[in-house]
Each structure stands twice: as structure tokens, then as C-alpha cells.
């Protein structure tokens, strides 16, 4: 099928903080097959694996705009506030962020920690 070819993985995305891995099929701000949506950061994107709809995409992650680490969009690893920031960088510069974000971070009891069960590097 024509669509499937477009979703051929380009490589494997791996979060440098939590080691989450997933194949990605697009990097950029305009995911394939969508016209009306623009991503506000250079993102690693895959086809949404949980729906048969071939046009659905899923943003896996992007680079931290401070330290350029490749991080996933999971709330344990990064946040987006007009740009992507990895949580370690947010922690370091927490005062640069508005109160709401600081609140949010505090609410997370474990502000930033690698997941308890550190998976080995295998897929």
C-alpha cells in the first residue's frame, strides 16, 4: 500500500533520559498526510501505532532547547513551554518559568528521576 511506504521507519528514537525507544518515520514540523497541523518544534514523529488510521501521527520527542539532549515528550522527561525543555534543564533554571509550571513541578512528587526499573538497552 502506498501509505505504508511513507511510514517506513527512518531510525529508532531513543530518549536520552528514560531510554524509551520507538522507531520514528519523520522528523520535522509538518507530519506527513496532515495539512492543517503544524508542530511548533522539530519533532521525531511516528505513525500513531494505536489506531489503524494511517494519517494519525504521534510525536515521540525532540531536542531540549537548552542542552540539545534528545528527550521524549513524557512528563517525567521534558515539558513544553513554547519550546521543549528537558526536566533537568527546567530544574536548573526553574525561576525562568512561570509560577504555574513551578507549581506543576512541585506537584510531581518525584520531580525528575529515572524510572525505577532501569531497562537494559535492548529493545
Amino acid at each position: 500500500m502506498a501509505h505504508e511506504a511513507e511510514h517506513q521507519p527512518l531510525g529508532v528514537f531513543e530518549c536520552q533520559l528514560c531510554s524509551l525507544t520507538a522507531p520514528y518515520s519523520y522528523v520535522g514540523q509538518k507530519p506527513p498526510n496532515t495539512q492543517s497541523i503544524i508542530l511548533l518544534e522539530e519533532s521525531f514523529v511516528t505513525k500513531d501505532p494505536f489506531t489503524p488510521d494511517k494519517d494519525r501521527f504521534l510525536v515521540l520527542g525532540s531536542r531540549c532547547s537548552v542542552c540539545s539532549r534528545l528527550v521524549c515528550v513524557g512528563p517525567e522527561c521534558s515539558l513544553f513551554y513554547s519550546k521543549r525543555f528537558c526536566l533537568p534543564c527546567v530544574q536548573e533554571n526553574v525561576h525562568a518559568f512561570p509560577q504555574e509550571i513551578r507549581h506543576d513541578l512541585e506537584k510531581r512528587k518525584v520531580p525528575w528521576k529515572r524510572p525505577a526499573s532501569q531497562p537494559s538497552t535492548q529493545a
Binding site: A22, P49, P52, V73, L79, P115
Partner: protein
């Protein structure tokens, strides 16, 4: 990188706004459908992310409403002023928006209607509302992203948390260094789902993973596809007998062991795979054991092929040492502590004397759980019982208990349930209620149910055992092995600490065998031996099995195959044998197919063979249901069960082909499990393709071209079906539902309609029906079905002949006193087993009178002979498909056949006395014929017919062998395998033969009689001077029986006899009608003369004089009286005709 400039960041007018009443002069109503549709027109067009009218669109509006409510609550939030903060030194942080807005936390943006081309209708919408809408949309999309990413992360966390995750690298490393690796881990360690994924991630792309069960192939392929994020891709697939999702892009395929063996049969070196995972080797299935042997031989020839054996931690050293001490990677299971409670069942006075299982010990456990554990503490109960009867016994009692307490939902689980009913065990119980699953050992390894906290282990299992002597399958109850007991216990500790109640003593446990007996030691080995022969793996006796089968059952199998003509005297595969080896069915059913195709009865035989190869479609619960029984009755055939199945299938096809015919309902009303009929259809098609492949059946006729309109119509219908199927698939897998308390009290499976309606997500599509119509050519099937129902009496008789010959020697003779017994007490004897009974579903169990010889014409002899030796020309035998012993030995799937004629045609040993009035078939059935002359004629006729039948069959097989050799060469398509005329003549004569009416008595010999049957080798050999009595064959003395061997099956005059020694010397004068010879002759001499008389007409179908051929009426044996209420008339109709007739009135 700076945020891209989009409209989102331009104006401040689309900042959050407190929606308030006074702000909007005109009433703005988001709930107004017109408003919504305006926005949908603007934003949700075909090329957009969300499409108008889709499910997604509905979801969005729901989300929208929630968001609106939420924002309403938060209207009091002040905008935070952040006065005079110094600019940050890090550039990325320097230009963060000063004023917080949740929208800045969303990493995507939606283009407004005005930026997407002028044709969008959104320009007229009020900008305020547009921004409100866009904002909601943005949050919606962000929410969707978070949700999907959450699932992905969860999936990875779960995978990483599996015990096997720590061992992935080690497995891959070991595999690099060794050709074979054993991965041993208990259920729940994740080996079956993870190891294939490790291989995928390591770059392997030709991985096969075998499973003992088809269902596991499907579920694993789904699971692994999901986990490897290619749920909707094709890199993970499965391949089972009738279904495949495999494509060129497939990297990992799950397939059954049987299928892999067939692939090896085709390409012995398995070039299509890099890695082979053999899962569940510890289960020791017949085919798995064989596969291991095959692989052990293959490995040296394929040094690049890697093999992973996966096993529970049971007897690992056996597998490792079998493969040259292959390394073992042992993975600890993830088990929580389990408390074991031994609660041996004390012998208590049972309620009734019946053999029914006492449910009380099981109820006590339910009670104990209710008393000890508060209902808020979740955790379900899994009960292991030995079989279906035990399950229903406990089910009944437990449901009564459950309806009192309202704290349990009781569900049965066994393989005979429909898939939908099996799936119910995965549903969740409502709060405060526990599931109680009553299961066979299917839940021990093959089905894993989450949330089990309590296990009750009865300690028993019912297993098929095989008695090679009696060719009898026995379903017997055994104590389980320690390994099984541990497996069962382990089921309680998968999600948390659990409790296992063992209804036996600890000392019993200690006495259990450590491991279960492997299948190879307890089943018939016919099909295995046949497969081994066709794969040329050498002598089965010396094949290096991991544990060899008992030599006796191997010998039995070889002898059986020789008897069936599949192996020749040197144990090499015969042409029929190599064909049988390719048919995935029992040898007898394979034979039926071959014989049927010869007599141009392929269509009906295909259906019957398929019907006999699947589980009975009749549901157990319907047996006691009078309505079902009555609805089924018109489908019953008094010829025998295979014909009933035949009617069921054909009528079902007719129902399906009717417009709007609801076959599901039709089946339910008759207590028929429709799933089995689908299986039959699939199997039938596979058989047909096999026969076509082997040139036994003319290839599929090109469809009638038809007019372009009907072609178009057909194409349109198919497209619609495909559409339905796709929709169904996109609807995703069945979601777990919450079980209803009441629901199960009704009996578990009676609510299919409700269930499927709920599952079909609104549209009540029968997806099985859709798949069926896509897979099969309904028109062709229907044509076959209706022609089948118009079978003439002759065709029916031939069909029975084919069945009889296929099933031979599976024969049973009615007990002589059956006439005086109750319907349910009819007794039958097979050669090896006395006192078998009819299965309750058998048609003869309800109408045994059709088996009784009707007109007692004469009594043989006086005084000494008793009632048993009744003379009749209508004695009948039962031929059956299998003999199954549960609490009684049951004959399964019986057909009645005329005794004398069948024995003459099929027996492997026929022994006669001097005047042929006494015959003994296969050393156990005695036939006494009143009329010597008639006897000899019949015997002679049967010899000729057998010879001709044999040669026709040989031609047929030779043709197929030739056909395979020159498949591509232009072959005369018109040329039928065997000369049509010849077959027609043969069929005609066979029919005449079958219809011959000769009075005789039929008796099963006693053991003593059978021992002293033969006169033994004679010193004085006086060859009878009876030239031509049995054709041209020369007579030679039989070395053991005495008498003379006429053919390889017929021995003349070898029976000891207490009758007058001189009887064969009594001559009477006789005149030959052909040559006029007139002299005193014994009956034998007379026949000998007739056969050799030079003036006798050549093509005389001898032996058929007495036959009164049935009038060639076109009436079908399936017709039944039918009274139509609509037109108040009586008819004689087949079930199809009834349907057709009824349609007129609609």
C-alpha cells in the same frame, strides 16, 4: 529554535476570555447542531485530521463540552503579572512568554480556516468563536497525543518490567554463539511475546515461532504486533490452517507446528527461515516431539539456522541434552507468594448414586473466600476440573450459590465453547463481585486470565488415551502430574499474592508423577507414521525421538496403514498413501475423499469428510432442549449421522444464500454451533483444492461469464463486504465488558444476540458471515448444496458404499437382543470391543428400529438354533468414525450399511465352508446363507466387483501421479481420470449387488468359536476341480487356515463344520440355459460351469439376477412429509425445498 510564526501567536484577541452572558449580544449556543455543523464544515473536512461525522468528531464535541465546563469553573483565575524579571542569560529561556497561558504548553498548532484556502466556509464565523473553537481543538489534539504517548510509555514500562527483560541480551548473545538455545521460564515471564521482539530488534527478519495451538498463533501475533508498535502493520503475522496474515513484509510469523512440518515436507531445509522458535516444547505434543527430531537432523545441514526452544521450567535437561547440551537461559517467573491449602475431599455420603461429581467441596471454597476476604479486595477464582461434565456439575451448584450471595459470576471455560463464550472469561466482574471460572486444563498453560487470586485444583485431568489393540480412544480421568499441579498453583500468583486450594492430600501430591505422559505415548500414531513416511525420515522404529513411542503402538500404526493400503508390504508409501499424507485428516476420511472423487460424488463426499473432521456442531445444552430437538429433526437422516451433518451443512448454506437469511439465528434455534459449520466450509474448501491439485477433481470451472450487469453487481457486493470487514477490523478488538450478575445465571451462552450486538459497536454485523462470504464462493457452494439435496437413491447408496469402504474395518454389529431393549439401551459389538453403545446424539439412538432386520422370513434350522440366527435379507451393520470411551464406550458418527454385501465387498479375510453357505468375515462375523447357489453367485460377483473397483482405483491414482508429473504440459482436460463409462458400469453393478436380496443370518462368533474356526493345513490336498468358480484365479492350499486361498482375502473351504460332510456331494440334474448341457451337478459345479460356459453371454452381470433394481426415481431420501400452513397442502419435501416453498409465501 524560535517558535514558528503562526497565527496562534499573532493577536491577543484569541487569548482566553471569560465567557459571560452579557458579552454576547446574540445568543451563542455551541450545542446547536447548525452551529456545530458550520464549524465542522470549516475545520473537519476530508483532508483534515478530524473528519466530519467520524467517531473522532463525536469525541471532539464531548471533549469540547467538558472543556467548556472546566473553563467556566476556572474563570476566576487571574492573569499573572510577572513584573520586571530580568531577561534570562540563556537565549532559549530569554524569550519565554511572560504571561502564562496553558496554550503555550502545547507543541502544535492548528491552522485556522482563513489560512487554508478561500473555499473554506469558515470566513463568516465570528472570530471570537473561531478562536474558542480552535483553542478547544488544540487541547483536544494535545490530549490525544498525551494519551497515545502515555500508552506507548506504559507499554515500554511493562515490557521492561517483565522478568525476561533482563535476559534479552543474554539470549541474543548465546544465540550468536550457539545454534540451539533453550529458554526456560515459567508462565508469565514473557518469553513468548518478548523473545520474538528481541530478535526483531536485533535485526532478524525471517523468524518463525511455532505454537501448539492455532488460537495462540493469532493472539500472540496480535500481542507482539501491538507491543512492537506494528499493530496495524504487517511485520508480525500469523499463519494457521485457513488463515494467514503473512505478507512479504512479515518478519515474524507465528504458525502451528503442523503447518511448519508441512513446510518442511515441501522444502526440507526450511530455507525461508533464519531463526526458528519452538514454543511450549514442555507440553510434549506429538507433533512437537516429531519436529524436534526433524530439527535435530536438519541442523547439521543448515549451520546458519538458529533454533530457540522455549519451555516452562519442566524437565529442561531433557531438551538441552537432546540437542547436544544446548545452553539454557533460565528466566525466573514473576510469581507472588502463593499459600497452598490442602483440603482433601473426604468420602462423604453423596447425594445421589450417580457418577456425577459432588460439587460441595468446591462450594465450600467459595464460601470460605466469601467469609474470609472482604468483597472490596478484588481477586477472581479459577477452578481446575477434569472435564466438561464436571464443569457443568459444579457450574449448576455454583450458580445457585451465586444467585443467593450476589457475589459471584460463574463462567465455564473449555475448548468446546464458542469463541465468544470463551472470551467472556476475560471480561471483568462488577465491583464487589468475583469471577469464578470453571475450567479444564486449558487454563493451565494455553489461556492466561489476569486477576486470578484463588485457584482450586481438583487434581484431576481427563486425557485421551489410546488402546492400540481395540483401536479405541479412551477419555479417562487421571491424577495430574506434579508439574501440572505447580502450573495450576502458579495461576494464583500472577497479579499478587494468592491462595491455591488443593482438593487432595499432600501425600497424594507426593505420589503424583513428576511429569505428564507425553502425547506420543498415549495416542494413535497412524498419522504420525504416515507423515514420517512421506517426509522420508526413514524407518519410524529407529527415528531418534526425544523419547521413543511404545514399539507396540508404532507396530499397530504400521499394520493399520498397511491394512488401509497406505503402505505396501515393504512399508513403502503407496500412491494412495502419499496422497493421504497430504490430507490433513484421519486416514479413513482421506480414503473417503479419494473413493468419492472416483465415483463422481466429490461434492457430497467433500462435505461429509469435512463434517466428520471437525467437532460435532451440536451444542450440549441443546440436547436437553426439546425445542431445539424438534427444530433439528427435519435435518436428521435415518441413514446415519454423517448424513445428518450433511443435511445440516447444506441447509445452512441455503439459509446463508438467501437474501437477509440470518444463519446465526437459524443455528441457534437448532442448537448448532455455527463456528463449526464455518470450520467445515473452510475444511471443505481445503479438501477440494487438494483433490484438484492432485488431479482427482477437475479444476474449478471458470465461472459462467454472466452478463455485465450481474458481474458488476457481484463486484459491488464484494466491495461492500470488504468494506464491512475493514470497518469491523478498525473497530478494533473486542473490548472488555463488565459482566452482568444476572446474565450468567441464565446459562452462560444463551445471550449471544445481546453480546454480539453490544460488541458490534452499534452495527450488528455478523463478521463471521462477512468473512465467510469473502472466502467462499457462495454460489458454487449453494449449487453443490442443492445438487446434494437432490441426490438420487442410487447416489445415496453409492455414497454409503464409499463411506463404508473408507471406514472399514470400523464396524459394529447390533446385539441380537436389541429388538427387546429400550431405545437408549441398544448394544453393539465391534471386533475388539463388546457392549458399545450409541452416542446420545446419534440418530439411531432415537430411532433404533431402522436397524432391526424387519421381515423375519424364515428361521434357520430347528431346535438347537435360537432366535439369534434369524434369517433376513436385511441385516445391517453400523460403520462408525470413532469409538470413544468416556463413562461408556460410545460409537461416534454411525452409518447403517447392509451387512452381507458390505462384508463381501470390504472384508480383508473371507473364509467359507465347502458350499459357501457359511462365511466368516475377518474372523469374527458369521453369515449363514440359506441358498448355496445364491451364496456362490454373490461371492463370485463380489470377487469380480472388488477386482474392478481396485483397478479403477489404481487407474485413478496412477492418473493423479501422472497428473502431478506433467502439471504444466498441456493435458487433455476433458479426459477424466478413469473412463467414465467404466465407472458408470461399475457403479451400476455395485448398486445391483448392494440391492440383492438373499436371506441370511448374521452372528458374532464367540471367542471359543473364533479360536477353532479353521480346519488347519491339510495333508491330503484335493484341489476341487471347479475351474472358473472364482474367475480365473488358481487355487492354492492355504498354509495355516487350510482350504484354498482364492485371492489374498478369500479362502475357500477352510471352515470347520459340523454339518453333513457329504452335502457338497449331493448332485441334482440341471440343464444349462446357454449350452444345453444336462447332467447331475453340485451347486458349486453348476456355477463353475456357468462361469466358464462358452455360450454364456460375456457381459452378464452375474450374481445380480435376484436384485430388483430400485426404480430410478428422482425422489430424494431426504424428503419428509411437510404440511404448509399457508397453503394448507401436504408435500414431500427436502429441507431445502421447504425453505424454497416457504419463501413463496413471504
Amino acid at each position: 529554535m524560535p517558535p514558528p510564526r503562526t497565527r496562534e501567536h499573532r493577536g491577543h484577541w484569541d487569548r482566553p476570555r471569560a465567557p459571560s452572558g452579557e458579552e454576547a449580544p446574540e445568543k451563542w449556543d455551541w450545542n446547536c447542531p447548525e452551529t456545530r455543523s458550520l464549524f465542522e464544515d470549516a475545520f473537519f473536512q476530508d483532508e483534515d485530521y478530524i473528519r466530519q461525522g467520524s467517531e473522532e468528531c463525536q469525541k471532539f464535541w464531548t471533549f469540547f463540552e467538558r472543556l467548556q465546563r472546566f473553563q467556566h469553573l476556572k474563570t476566576t483565575r487571574k492573569e499573572e503579572k510577572d513584573p520586571g524579571q530580568p531577561k534570562h542569560s540563556i537565549p532559549a529561556l530569554a524569550d519565554l512568554p511572560r504571561t502564562y497561558d496553558p496554550r503555550y504548553r502545547i507543541n502544535l498548532s492548528v491552522l485556522g480556516p482563513d489560512t487554508r484556502g478561500s473555499r473554506r466556509p469558515g470566513r463568516r464565523l465570528p472570530p471570537e468563536r473561531v478562536s474558542e473553537f480552535r483553542r478547544a481543538l488544540l487541547h483536544y489534539l494535545d490530549f490525544g497525543q498525551k494519551q497515545a504517548f502515555g500508552r506507548l510509555a506504559k507499554l515500554q514500562r511493562e515490557r521492561a518490567a517483565l522478568p525476561i527483560a533482563q535476559y534479552g541480551q543474554r539470549i541474543l548473545k548465546t544465540l550468536k554463539e550457539h545454534q540451539v538455545v533453550v529458554v526456560a521460564g515459567d508462565t508469565g515471564c514473557g518469553k513468548s511475546t518478548q523473545v520474538p521482539q528481541y530478535l526483531l530488534a536485533a535485526g532478524f527478519s525471517h523468524v518463525a515461532c511455532t505454537q501448539p495451538r492455532r488460537i495462540a498463533c493469532i493472539s500472540l501475533a496480535k500481542r507482539v504486533g501491538f507491543e512492537s508498535l506494528s499493530q496495524y502493520g504487517s511485520q508480525v503475522g500469523y499463519q494457521i490452517r485457513f488463515e494467514s496474515t503473512r505478507s512479504a513484509a512479515t518478519k515474524v510469523v507465528f504458525l502451528t507446528v503442523g503447518l511448519l512440518l508441512r513446510q518442511i515436507q515441501r522444502e526440507p531445509s526450511l530455507p525461508q527461515y533464519q531463526v526458528l522458535i519452538v514454543d511450549e516444547v514442555h507440553e510434549r505434543h506429538l507433533h512437537n516431539d516429531f519436529l524436534l527430531g526433524v530439527l535435530r537432523r536438519l541442523l547439521p545441514q543448515r549451520p546458519d539456522l538458529k533454533v530457540i526452544l522455549m519451555s516452562a521450567t519442566i524437565n529442561i535437561s531433557l531438551f538441552s541434552s537432546y540437542f547436544d547440551n544446548a545452553p539454557v537461559v533460565q528466566v525466573p517467573g514473576r510469581l507472588f507468594p502463593i499459600t497452598v491449602v490442602y483440603q482433601p475431599v473426604e468420602a462423604e455420603p453423596t447425594v445421589s448414586k450417580s457418577e456425577k461429581l459432588d460439587p460441595r467441596p468446591f462450594l465450600r471454597v467459595l464460601q470460605a473466600i466469601d467469609n474470609k476476604y472482604p468483597p472490596e479486595e478484588r481477586g477472581d477464582l479459577l477452578v481446575f476440573l477434569s472435564g466438561m461434565a464436571e464443569i457443568s456439575a459444579v457450574l449448576e451448584a455454583a450458580q445457585t450459590y451465586a444467585s443467593h450471595t450476589q457475589r459471584w459470576v460463574v463462567l465455564p471455560l473449555h475448548s468446546a465453547l464458542s469463541v465468544a463464550d470463551q472470551d467472556k472469561v476475560f471480561d471483568v466482574a462488577p465491583p464487589g463481585v468475583r469471577k469464578c471460572i470453571l475450567s479444564t486444563n486449558i487454563a493451565e498453560t494455553s489461556v492466561t486470565i489476569d486477576g486470578i487470586r484463588f485457584v482450586v485444583d481438583s487434581g484431576k485431568v481427563k486425557e485421551m488415551s489410546y488402546d492400540p489393540q481395540a483401536k479405541l480412544q479412551r477419555l479417562q480421568e487421571f491424577w495430574i502430574s506434579q508439574a501440572s499441579a505447580e502450573q495450576r498453583k502458579g495461576r494464583a500468583g500472577r497479579t499478587g499474592p494468592g491462595v491455591c486450594f488443593r482438593l487432595y492430600a499432600e501425600s497424594d501430591y507426593d505420589a503424583f508423577a513428576p511429569y505428564a505422559v507425553p502425547e506420543i505415548r498415549r495416542v494413535a500414531l497412524d498419522t504420525l507414521v504416515l507423515q514420517m513416511k512421506s517426509m522420508s525420515v526413514g524407518d519410524p522404529r529407529t527415528f531418534p525421538f526425544i523419547e521413543p513411542p511404545p514399539p507396540a503402538s508404532l507396530e499397530t500404526a504400521i499394520r493399520y496403514l498397511r491394512d488401509q493400503g497406505a503402505l505396501d508390504s515393504s512399508e513403502a508409501l503407496t500412491p494412495i498413501g502419499s496422497l493421504l499424507a497430504q490430507l490433513p485428516v484421519d486416514v479413513v476420511i482421506g480414503k473417503m475423499l479419494i473413493l468419492g472423487s472416483m465415483f463422481h460424488l466429490a461434492e457430497p463426499v467433500l462435505t461429509i469428510a469435512a463434517a466428520l473432521s471437525v467437532q460435532s456442531p451440536f451444542t450440549r445444552s441443546a440436547q436437553s432442549n426439546l425445542e431445539c430437538a424438534a427444530a433439528r429433526r427435519p435435518l436428521e437422516s435415518d441413514q446415519g449421522d454423517p448424513f445428518t451433518l450433511f443435511n445440516v451443512f447444506n441447509t445452512w448454506v441455503q439459509v446463508k444464500s438467501e437474501r437477509g437469511g440470518n444463519s446465526r439465528k437459524w443455528c441457534r434455534r437448532r442448537g448448532i454451533e455455527e463456528h463449526r459449520l464455518y470450520e467445515m466450509a473452510n475444511l471443505r474448501r481445503q479438501f477440494k483444492e487438494l483433490l484438484e491439485d492432485h488431479g482427482l477433481l477437475a479444476g474449478a470451472q471458470a465461472l459462467k461469464p454472466g452478463d455485465s450487469y450481474s458481474r458488476l453487481q457481484q463486484r459491488r457486493e464484494r466491495r461492500a463486504l470488504h468494506q464491512l470487514k475493514r470497518q469491523h477490523e478498525e473497530g478494533g478488538a473486542r473490548r472488555r465488558k463488565v459482566l452482568r450478575l444476572q446474565e450468567e445465571q441464565e446459562g452462560g451462552s444463551s445471550d449471544e444476540d445481546r453480546g454480539t450486538a453490544a460488541r458490534g459497536a452499534g452495527n450488528n454485523v455478523d463478521i463471521q458471515d462477512v468473512k465467510f462470504k469473502l472466502r467462499h464462493n457462495l454460489e458454487q457452494l449453494q449449487a453443490a448444496a442443492s445438487s446434494a439435496q437432490a441426490l438420487t437413491r442410487d447416489q445415496l447408496a453409492l455414497l454409503k458404499l464409499v463411506l463404508g469402504r473408507g471406514l472399514y474395518p470400523q464396524l459394529a454389529v447390533p446385539d441380537p437382543f436389541n429388538g427387546g431393549r429400550k431405545d437408549s439401551d441398544q448394544i453393539f459389538h465391534t471386533q475388539a470391543k463388546q457392549g458399545t453403545v450409541l452416542h446420545p446424539t446419534c440418530v439411531f439412538a432415537s430411532s433404533p428400529e431402522v436397524l432391526h432386520p424387519k421381515e423375519p422370513e424364515a428361521r434357520a434350522g430347528e431346535g438347537s438354533r435360537d432366535d439369534r440366527d434369524r434369517m433376513s435379507s436385511r441385516h445391517q451393520l453400523l460403520t462408525f468414525v470413532s469409538l470413544l470411551e468416556t463413562n461408556k464406550p460410545y460409537l461416534v458418527n454411525c452409518v447403517r450399511i447392509p451387512a452381507l454385501q458390505s462384508l463381501l465387498l470390504f472384508s480383508r479375510a473371507l473364509d467359507t465352508n465347502g458350499d459357501c453357505s457359511r462365511l466368516v468375515a475377518d474372523g469374527w462375523l458369521e453369515l449363514q446363507l440359506a441358498d448355496t447357489e445364491g451364496a456362490v453367485r454373490l461371492l463370485a460377483a463380489s470377487l469380480r466387483l472388488r477386482a474392478r473397483w481396485e483397478s479403477a482405483l489404481d487407474q485413478q491414482l496412477a492418473h493423479q501421479a501422472r497428473g502431478r508429473g506433467q502439471r504444466e504440459e498441456e493435458e487433455d482436460e476433458e479426459e477424466a481420470p478413469v473412463n467414465r463409462q467404466e465407472v458408470a458400469a461399475l457403479s451400476r453393478e455395485l448398486l445391483q449387488f448392494m440391492a440383492s436380496k438373499v436371506p441370511y443370518s448374521l452372528r458374532r462368533l464367540t471367542g471359543l468359536e473364533a479360536q477353532n474356526l479353521y480346519v488347519g493345513p491339510q495333508t491330503i490336498t484335493t484341489a476341487p476341480s471347479l475351474p472358473g468358480l472364482f474367475g480365473s484365479s488358481a487355487l492354492s492350499p492355504h498354509p495355516t487356515k487350510g482350504g484354498y486361498a482364492v485371492t489374498d482375502f478369500l479362502t475357500y473351504n477352510c471352515l470347520t463344520s459340523d454339518t453333513d460332510l457329504y452335502s457338497d456331494c449331493l448332485r441334482t440334474f440341471w440343464t444349462c440355459p446357454h449350452c444345453g448341457l444336462h447332467m447331475p451337478l453340485t451347486p458349486l459345479e453348476r456355477i463353475a460351469h456357468e462361469n466358464s460356459c462358452p455360450d454364456a453371454p460375456r457381459d452378464d452381470p452375474a450374481g445380480a439376477e435376484e436384485a430388483t433394481p430400485e426404480p430410478q426415481q428422482k425422489t430424494s431420501a431426504l424428503q419428509r412429509p411437510y404440511r404448509c400452513e399457508a397453503c394448507q397442502k401436504d408435500f414431500l419435501f427436502t429441507p431445502t425445498e421447504v425453505l424454497r416453498h416457504r419463501r413463496q409465501h413471504v
